[in-house]
């Protein structure tokens, strides 16, 4: 009896170590390749441990390659603006919907929830943003479409406010003569930091990782985000393989990102995510629990 339990536990460790390896090895491959000397990489291919260590790709990345540094700048800017605006809009709406006797509360909640069940799809959305709002090749194209306010986060935040903000506290604020907006910023928000952190991180991750808005709306290289730059690099390597570039000017082909540089760009794009991961994990696992229960 005891013995089977122990064997079972050892089995658990073995399986989980194997799964961890399956997850981690691709990361190692990416990391090592970015640190490997270019010629070795071309001759021997990507490897799990670096063969000839070289920092050339990183030197190039942070030094000369203007468009990569620029792309990081764009991504940071878009993430900062989008996340703060999106988070603020989300919690304000969620708070309003948590006010129990608000007239039309049910109707508004339904209209928000309905967007999770039904949507117009890519083409009408694309047509509206390009033909009506003319956001093609503007910074707004990376910030506004689809990422700012997500009904799911509104619902999570609303249920947090409903269950965790005591009515008495809000009432006390009203008796003191505070306006509703002041009550929200002075009383409710300081009590809601965990949920704001969770939702802020999710929105921020969405912006940082987004590549579809760039794909749909941006053709101007000056506005490329990191993810879009990486997508373009993939297109270039495909083009090289399929020989589409055979007729191209040799100098252009030479200027195409080298193998290790591509990997280094990918590595650097993951670093900010890894840096916030510990905070993320702390709030995120709780957030997952809330999300799963509430659906």
């Amino acid at each position: 009896m005891k013995r089977t339990n122990r064997n079972f536990r050892i089995g658990c460790h073995i399986v989980l170590i194997l799964v961890s390896l399956i997850i981690l090895i691709p990361f190692l491959l990416l990391l090592s390749s970015s640190f490997t000397e270019e010629q070795t990489l071309i001759a021997k291919g990507y490897s799990i441990l670096p063969r000839e260590i070289s920092l050339e790709a990183y030197r190039y990345l942070f030094g000369g390659a203007g468009n990569i540094v620029r792309a990081y700048g764009i991504t940071f800017l878009v993430t900062a603006i989008g996340t703060s605006a999106g988070l603020l809009m989300t919690v304000l709406l969620a708070y309003a919907l948590s006010v129990k006797d608000l007239p039309f509360r049910k109707l508004i909640s339904f209209l928000v929830f309905f967007t999770m069940l039904f949507n117009g799809g890519l083409i009408p959305t694309y047509m509206m943003y390009t033909n009506v709002f003319h956001i093609k090749n503007t910074l707004a194209a990376l910030i506004v479409p689809s990422l700012m306010v997500n009904a799911f986060f509104v619902i999570i935040a609303r249920s947090f406010f409903e269950t965790n903000i005591p009515k008495e506290v809000v009432e006390a604020g009203r008796i003191d003569g505070c306006g509703e907006i002041r009550i929200f910023f002075k009383v409710v928000m300081p009590m809601s930091l965990p949920i704001m952190a969770t939702i802020g991180l999710m929105i921020g991750l969405g912006y940082w990782n987004n590549w579809t808005n760039g794909l749909y709306y941006i053709t101007d290289k000056n506005l490329f985000s990191v993810q879009q730059l990486l997508t373009e690099m993939v297109k270039n390597m495909q083009a090289l393989q399929s020989g589409e570039l055979a007729g191209m000017d040799p100098s252009t082909v030479q200027n195409l990102p080298s193998t290790s540089l591509r990997m280094a760009t990918a590595v650097v794009s993951v670093i900010p995510v890894m840096l916030i991961y510990p905070i993320f994990q702390k709030y995120f696992v709780k957030g997952i629990a809330v999300g799963a229960v509430k659906g």
């Binding site: 491959l29 990416l30 009408p124 509206m128």
Partner: protein
């Protein structure tokens, strides 16, 4: 008399609530623009869209676009691919994620548990672009780990994996699992942690085996979470992760037969062949059938266990 006081009270109430509506306004305007206007734009699928005439100026086409769409073999292909992949995902996600959650729950050492959990959640944080780079690291015909290290050490010829449709159904499923299973297992784990320990103690007293405990205590307790997650997935069964089917196969044309889904079809229609009318018909087909499926899934759950229904 009565009505005036009532009105007064109402007006007072509205004045009190005005700031609250004001707080809700920015997000509501955003949702109206980003989500509701495009719903109206769906009429484009019923029009013979001409760029210079715009959506409203173009001539009506009735159901012509849908007729054309369903006469192509693409319609069948993208529907089949979207549905079959999603079915595979739903079954495998659930089974593997639960298995991993049970294993994680058995780990006593806090530090080990934390380590496994950290690693398992990692892929969920990556964009599909990065995932496509990771896959490329293995499958690149020229420098990939599979060709250059594994196959060449076995003395075998390297392959151009991006031109081999037969391996991609498995690859897509594997990559999907790689990304999502850890996330799902953490969700299940958070349910497992909440199960009352005394059930297990009682089972131990009765001399229950490991498997009996899993079968009769763990799994029944996971049922609500399983239903919720499956319900969400079934509601999304007509949708696919655009990145998984577009970025990971590097948009390779030879793979379209096994990697085209409704989402990639709509995108290609918009960007590449500029066949907007037909791909917007595909978009409407997706939205409508998807909507019906959510309602249906929710109705079924309402019948079998009401408390797990979404609405």
């Amino acid at each position: 008399m009565h009505t005036t006081t009532h009105k007064k009270a109402n007006r007072k109430k509205m004045r009190r609530y005005l700031p609250i509506y004001f707080m809700a306004l920015p997000a509501l305007i955003y949702i109206f623009i980003n989500n509701y206007i495009p719903m109206g734009g769906m009429v484009i699928a019923f029009k013979n869209y001409k760029f210079n005439k715009g959506i409203w100026g173009s001539d009506w086409a009735g159901f012509k676009n849908f007729e054309f769409l369903f006469r192509t073999k693409d319609a069948w292909l993208i529907t089949r691919n979207t549905l079959l992949y999603n079915l595979a995902f739903i079954v495998l996600d659930t089974v593997i994620a639960i298995a991993l959650a049970i294993l994680l729950n058995e780990i006593r050492s806090k530090r080990c548990k934390k380590f496994y959990q950290t690693v398992l959640l990692l892929p969920y944080l990556l964009s599909m672009v990065i995932v496509s780079y990771l896959v490329y690291g293995f499958l690149s015909p020229d420098q990939g780990f599979v060709n250059k290290t594994i196959l060449s050490s076995l003395g075998l010829q390297g392959q151009n994996w991006y031109a081999k449709p037969e391996i991609w159904p498995f690859l897509i499923v594997f990559v999907h699992l790689w990304v999502i299973v850890g996330y799902n297992s953490v969700i299940y784990l958070s349910t497992l942690v909440g199960i009352d320990k005394s059930y297990y103690e009682a089972a131990d007293v009765d001399g229950a085996t490991m498997w009996q405990k899993i079968r009769y205590i763990t799994l029944p307790n996971l049922k609500p979470t399983v239903i919720t997650l499956c319900l969400l997935s079934i509601g999304r069964i007509f949708y696919s992760d655009f990145g998984l089917f577009y970025q990971v196969p590097l948009n390779s044309g030879t793979l379209y037969d096994v990697t085209s889904t409704i989402d990639t079809y709509v995108y290609r229609g918009l960007m590449q062949s500029s066949n907007v009318s037909m791909s917007s018909a595909a978009g409407v087909y997706q939205s409508l059938v998807g909507f019906v499926l959510v309602l249906f899934a929710n109705w079924v759950v309402n019948k079998i266990s009401k408390e797990n229904a979404l609405f």
